[in-house]
Each structure stands twice: as C-alpha cells, then as structure tokens.
C-alpha cells in the first residue's frame, strides 16, 4: 500500500472536502465570516461532480433552499456563523418537523449580535440546542481538529440521512481557520449512509410512518410518490392532524428516534479517566488545550482525566453521570460563560462539584490556564 502524502489543510476546507466525500450535491449559503471558505470551495467543486451551488439572498432563504433540495433526493448543506444561525433557526425547525435531512455548519464567532466576526467563541451551544422554537430534537457535533472536521462532517451527513433530521456541525473560528497537516482517508474506506427509500408502490406509501427504529422511509420529489410535506403537525400521511393525541405522538416520536438510537449518535473520547480523581470536560478548541494541560498535570503526578464529547447534542448524560461518581470535581473550560456547564451540573448532580473556566474575550483558553485551574481546585 502506497503511503499517502500529508497535505496542509484549513478547517473550513476540511469541512467542504468532508461534505464532498459524504456525497453532498447541493449547497445554498450566504457570505459570512468566518465560514465563507466553505461556500467558496463548494461553489468551485460542486459543479465538477454534477452538484449545484447557489448563493441565496439571505440565510433564511439558504436554509429553505437546502430543505427544498433535500426533498428532491440531494444531500444538502449550508454553512454560516452565529448571526446567520439566528436566521436559519426558522427553517431549521421546519427541517426537524418535516424530517428533512440536511447539515448546517456554524463556525462560531463572538456574539451576541454582530460581535466579533474573526474571533472564536462557543457562544452558540445553547442556540444549537434551542435556537428554533418548539420542542424539537437536534444533533450537534463539535470536532477539535482539521482532520476530525473532515471525519465529523461525513458523520454529520450520515446521521442526518440515517435519522431524517437536521444535524448542526459546531466549529469555531479557530477550528475553521486553522491549518494542519492531514492525511485524508481513501474514499473507498469511508462509510456512507443514505436515507432509506420506500420500496412500496405510491398508493401504499405513508411518508411519515416510522419503521421500528422510529425513522420513516423518504421518497424524493419527482419519483411518482406525490406526497405532501408541511410544517404543521401531521400524521403518517403527511397531512395536518392537530388532534392532541397525534400532536403528542409526533413530538415524542421525533425525540424518540434520536434517544432510542443514541448509541449510534454519541461520540465521546476519554483520556486518563481510569484512575482519575479529577476530570476536565471540554469540547472544540478548548479540548485541545485541556488535553495538553491534563498531560502536563499527569507528569506532575496529578490524577486528572479528560472527557471530550464530539457529540454535544444529544448530551452525553451517562458519561457525565458515570464520571461524577468517580471524580470529586469536574472542570468545564468553555469559550462562553458556562453554556454546557449547566448540562454537566444537571447530570453530575451532587456527586461531583462542577467548576467553570470561561473566556468570552475572543481568545483561546491556554493549556496553562487549565493547568492552573486543575491545581487551584485540587
């Protein structure tokens, strides 16, 4: 086997390349720093593979176009940053309700509002969870390197297709703009999941009748199924049914298809947790500093471990519960004022003390800051 040559790649580029490897064939977007490279690269690459790019008039329209494209059978995505996420939230809820697979990349920057376009942040963690109105499930993933951005982008498409749901990829300005040496896998070695298609004749097809795994089969427009899609509460036929019984059933089913299959969705890495008395819980950019800090502390004989969720939503509750029974304290470094810390506290309960390490100045959390925190709480 010939050795593959490493290449220098930017995070946003890895995201675009990962999307192509996953089979993306449609991108609709609107320019916004620090995500624009994803749109630029896909505008160049998509037509080469027969795919289609469009720059829409705004973020609302791009999210709408992505859903329209996905309904024709295309794997579709959009990319943006916080201000654009605010606008995409409207139709993100539609994708959730109408069960239309799509991937939304949010390269986080400092907010609120226009904030700091070129500075990293993790301020959109709760927006990713609850940005659109109503009780909806969501999957959100946060890689911490260029290589992982490539892999997790593929995973995002796979999960969106597998569960007929929007998946949010949470990068941050540092992950998006950083360049690292990567060796990309061969296309043949990549696992690709496509949505389940109906095999029954059109008159027997119910677009929202779930299989045992909670996920309905999805026809494409133009294939003869002539089905109806709406954002209104609907029954298995796809037509509005606002009865209390059906409303309850639909909203619970949307959640259950994620919760019941959580093992397929959760990605969490643990480092040095076997004998740990203290844990650091970190994701995205701060997890890199945290791993470095944990290694340094270990050299000094401190029994500290790292929990690094790549899947942010659904939240890895069981991992935290288990860890909290083992360690006395959990440090949560975040580039926000403690958005995921609240979730860690919720599952650690009184078993472990949860301590934040927070920066909202658009600067990275350094390994030394994490080391200092570890020593401070020992």
């Amino acid at each position: 086997m010939s050795e593959k040559k490493p290449i220098l790649m930017q995070g946003n580029e890895a995201c675009a390349k990962g999307a192509l490897a996953a089979g993306v064939r449609f991108f609709a977007g609107y320019p916004i720093t620090p995500s624009s490279e994803i749109a630029e690269i896909l505008s160049e690459e998509l037509p080469k593979v027969g795919g289609r790019f469009i720059q829409m008039e705004d973020e609302i329209a791009s999210m709408a176009a992505v859903i329209g494209a996905s309904l024709t059978g295309s794997k579709a995505m959009t990319a943006t940053s916080g201000p654009g996420m605010s606008l995409k939230s409207e139709n993100l809820g539609y994708a959730s309700m109408a069960e239309v697979p799509c991937v939304i990349v949010d390269v986080q920057r400092v907010g609120p509002s226009t904030g700091g376009p070129t500075a990293p942040s993790q301020g959109d963690i709760m927006q990713a969870r609850w940005g659109t109105h109503g009780d909806h499930p969501i999957i959100a993933l946060a890689p911490n390197s260029v290589k992982e951005t490539y892999e997790v982008t593929i995973k995002a498409f796979n999960l969106s297709e597998r569960f007929r749901t929007p998946v949010i990829l949470l990068l941050d300005e540092v992950i998006g703009h950083m360049r690292e040496k990567v060796v990309l896998p061969d296309q043949e070695s990549i696992e690709i999941i496509n949505r389940k298609k109906p095999t029954v004749p059109p008159e027997e097809y119910f677009p929202y009748e779930p299989d045992e795994d909670g996920v309905p089969k999805m026809a494409s427009y133009g294939e003869g199924y002539r089905f109806h899609v709406t954002g209104l509460t609907h029954d298995k036929t796809g037509f509005p049914n606002l009865s209390p019984g059906n409303t309850d059933y639909v909203i619970r089913r949307l959640h259950e298809k994620i919760e019941k299959n959580i093992d397929e969705i959760l990605m969490v890495e643990e480092y040095f947790m076997d004998d740990a008395e203290l844990a650091v819980f970190a994701y995205g950019s701060p997890s890199r500093s945290s791993l470095s800090a944990v290694r340094k502390a270990r050299e000094e004989g401190i029994k500290v471990g790292l929990i690094r969720p790549i899947t942010i939503w659904p939240f890895p509750a069981e991992t935290v519960k288990k860890a909290a029974q083992k360690v006395s304290k959990i440090i949560v470094p975040e580039m926000n004022l403690g958005q995921l810390l609240g979730e860690v506290e919720r599952y650690a309960k009184s078993d472990a003390e949860v301590i934040g390490l927070n920066r909202v100045d658009g600067e990275l959390i350094t390994p030394q800051e994490v080391v200092d925190k570890i020593k401070e709480v020992l």
């Binding site: 037509p47 289609r52 008039e57 329209g68 494209a69 133009g222």
Partner: protein, 274 residues
Amino acid sequence: MQELLDKYFRKDKLPHIWCPGCGHGITLGAVVRAIDKVGLDPIKTTVVSGIGCSSRAPGYMKFDTLHTTHGRALAFATGVKHAKPELNVIVLTGDGDAAAIGGNHLIHAARRNIDITTVLFNNSIYGMTGGQYSPLTPTGKLATTAPYGNIDQAFDICKLAIAAGATYVARGTVYNTTQLIGLISKGIQNKGFSLIEVITHCPTVYGRRNKMGTAVDMMKWQKENTVNVKAAEKMTEEQLKGKILVGELYSDTRPEYTEQYTKIIERLQKEGQQ
C-alpha cells in the same frame, strides 16, 4: 370537471377550508386547468406554498406538494428547482406571504429568472389571521389592524416583478377565469420566472368590514374596475384613473438560471474528461 378532479385533486382532502364565497377555489381551479391545458406531467410537477389561506391550496392537489414557512415558498422552491431542474415548479402564494414577509425572495427569484411559475392570490388582506392589512391592501381600506383606515401605500407587485427581472408578468381576476387560465398557462410555458397576480376576493374578513357586499358583488367590482392592458392603450389617463390593468403585462426572454448552471456543469465535466 370530474375528470380534472380525478386527475389532479386529492379528493379525500376535500371539501377545502376556504370560507363560502372565497375566490381561492376559483383560482385553484384556474391553476389546475392551466396545468391540464399545458399538459404538465403530474409526476414531474412540484407545487410549493408558504403560509396563509392561499397556501393551503397545494394540500388538495395530487402532485408532490410542499407547504413551507411564511413567506419562504420561493426560497424552498428555488432549492427544489435548482437541485432537480427537470421538475416543473409552481408556487402558490398570497399577498401577505409574497409581498410582505417573502418580498425579498420574490425579488431575487425574479432577478435570477429561475423557471418557477408563481401564482399570487391577492385578496388584499391577511385572511387566515383574521383580517390584518397587507402590502397590497389599498390605502383607506379598513382592517383589524387599520381600524381608522389604512394609511400604507399598496404597491404594484407586477411592476416590482418586472423591475426585478421576471420574464413573464400578468394580472387576472377570478371574475374572468377564461383569461386567467390563459395567463397562468403562458406563465407555466415561459422558460423563466413568471408571476401571475390574481385579483381574488375575501368576502369574510375584507369585504364585510369594507362594506363591499357579497362575494358576487366583489366579483362585479373586479369586472368594473379592471381594464385589459390592450384596451387601455386606446384610453385616456382620465378614463384609466383608478382602474387596475389586467392581461399580459410583460413578456421577455432571458437566460434561465438552472439552464445556465447546467451549462457550467457540462463544461466542467467535459474538461474533466479531457
């Protein structure tokens, strides 16, 4: 009639939700007759709508149908058309949906000249929410949110579509369905963005509040207050005062968006093979 119902309607979804006397049923009838007249393949036709009374129409139609969010029908439809250009895409929308919250999407769909036929059901009011004024409510009219009379200036949505780049723009009424069917048919046949504004009536929350009489009176109003654009050429400014022009207002040929994109794909794939 029965044949059209069998062929194009989800009969189990009827009767429709529109009020007695509403003009939307006539408009939907005209849309379906135009589809039939042009001979679109029902399997290759997607009907998209936003939110409002008009936007419930696709639910009754036996096509692939997409009932989207308020104002966004054209943005969803752009995704459908661009991703699968072989589909015929028809958007059914209203005056609030297309001219207020969806105004920007209308401008840009027209600018791109993407091959979507938009039928705008203009009943001058937000019907589904109970009678608030829209950007197409005439000045002076009463609405639940204009209890002292509307001081907004209504805009001419056809002029807007022409200025933005639509290649077929027409206006008809539910009074004159023969003309309306012809206008929608030509809109469907146009290879590019088409807008057909349909003057329809809402006797329930617009006509009643503004003392415009019954549904039949409101249709007579349409007859008496519209002038065919061809007849208007021979009329004086004085004669045309207060009249609404109907008929084919604009027709042109410009490159269509998805065809242009397909050319890029074909060129790149050819280069890739060399």
